[in-house]
């Protein structure tokens, strides 16, 4: 067993809360987020001596994004609920008071994985377009288009809910 790398424990303690939030945004599930974070940290451990000299948080975030993409490709995503519930809701119906956060989380989960990653990194983690491109391993142009499309879909979902609530 390799000895504990110097400074790695402190990094895990200090940065895990922020990284866990990013992991949750990528997965939408608390347990999956913890799993993703721990897996990324475990893969960072052997390279810590090199990683620590640069930007370790960016490295872990990159590992998380790539792991997330491969996990998404392997896993069944469950049934996708239809959007037809709207037709059954009467104006002023109590059930129409849908929590924005639930709507946003659901809309986020429905984004294609690359759009979701671009949106999370760009607008949740506030990374620059170039930084997101480095993490995702794609071009800045692709990041711009993916994040813009993703954000527009989230806006559409929220707007649809607002419209429903105002009826």
């Amino acid at each position: 067993m390799t000895a504990e790398p110097i400074g790695f424990r402190e990094f895990v303690v200090a940065r895990s809360p922020a990284l866990l939030r990013t992991a949750w945004m990528l997965t939408g599930d608390g347990a999956a987020a913890e799993d993703l974070l721990q897996s990324a940290l475990a893969r960072t451990w052997p390279h810590w001596a090199r990683v620590a000299e640069g930007r370790p948080e960016a490295y872990v975030r990159t590992v998380m994004v790539r792991l997330n993409a491969s996990w998404r490709a392997r896993r069944w995503h469950g049934e996708t609920p239809t959007a037809e519930v709207e037709a059954g809701l009467a104006p002023g119906d109590h059930q129409a008071q849908v929590d924005d956060r639930v709507v946003l989380a659901t809309a986020l989960a429905r984004l294609p994985v690359r759009q979701r990653q671009a949106v999370v990194l760009r607008y949740f983690d506030d990374l620059s377009v170039d930084e997101v491109a480095r993490v995702m391993g794609s071009s800045p142009g692709t990041v711009k288009s993916q994040s813009a499309k993703g954000l527009a879909k989230l806006r559409d979902a929220l707007t649809a809910t607002d419209t429903l609530e105002k009826r």
């Binding site: 974070l37 721990q38 940290l41 956060r101 946003l104 954000l151």
Partner: protein, 182 residues
């Protein structure tokens, strides 16, 4: 609603997430499990290298490839590759103490090698804390089996950071280091 407002709501989306106090230890356990798997893969690679450099490869009638190390040595069989490999004939019931199945057998009759989907050898390939390749007894790697949930909790309390097991050469007696489980 404009896109900036969407981004603002996005930043407020994650719920309060629990932060396990033992996250670092969990990460360390994952690193060890990864190293154990890598040690297994490395052992497979070493068998292949040994076959290419030391052994004499000969196509075996069972469709596998046998590594001939002379009359006194054990024979290790690698799986057949490709569709042209002839089908394996019905194999006789293996004499339990004499064959190691997919693993090699040392002079004491103990199997050694990597864990596979079908089972575990007596001595499991590991990487010792000093980086040396060796083998640890599977029974010691598993540790004492808890007899009840309460017993499992007691073991966890007694060994919160895991435990060390000895690492041996393939003979199962020459100690070369230790491997930390936990």
């Amino acid at each position: 609603m404009n896109l900036d407002q969407v981004a603002d709501r996005l930043r407020q989306l994650p719920p309060a997430l629990p932060q396990p106090a033992d996250r670092f230890d969990r990460v360390r356990r994952r690193v060890r499990r990864r190293q154990l798997r890598l040690a297994g893969a490395s052992a497979v690679g070493m068998v292949a290298v040994a076959a290419a450099t030391v052994g004499v490869l000969a196509h075996h009638s069972s469709g596998g490839v046998a590594i001939d190390r002379g009359p006194a040595a054990t024979t290790s069989r690698l799986p057949a590759h490709g569709p042209s490999a002839p089908p394996a004939p019905p194999s006789p019931a293996p004499p339990a103490p004499a064959t190691g199945g997919p693993w090699k057998v040392n002079a004491h009759g103990q199997t050694y090698g990597i864990e596979t989907e079908t089972g575990t050898p007596d001595l499991v390939a590991v990487i010792a804390t000093d980086g040396r390749h060796g083998y640890a007894y599977a029974t010691q790697l598993e540790g004492p089996r808890p007899t009840s949930p309460a017993d499992a909790l007691r073991q966890e309390r007694e060994d919160p950071n895991g435990y060390d097991v000895p690492v041996y050469e393939s003979d199962g007696t020459t100690r070369i280091g230790h491997f930390h489980v936990g």
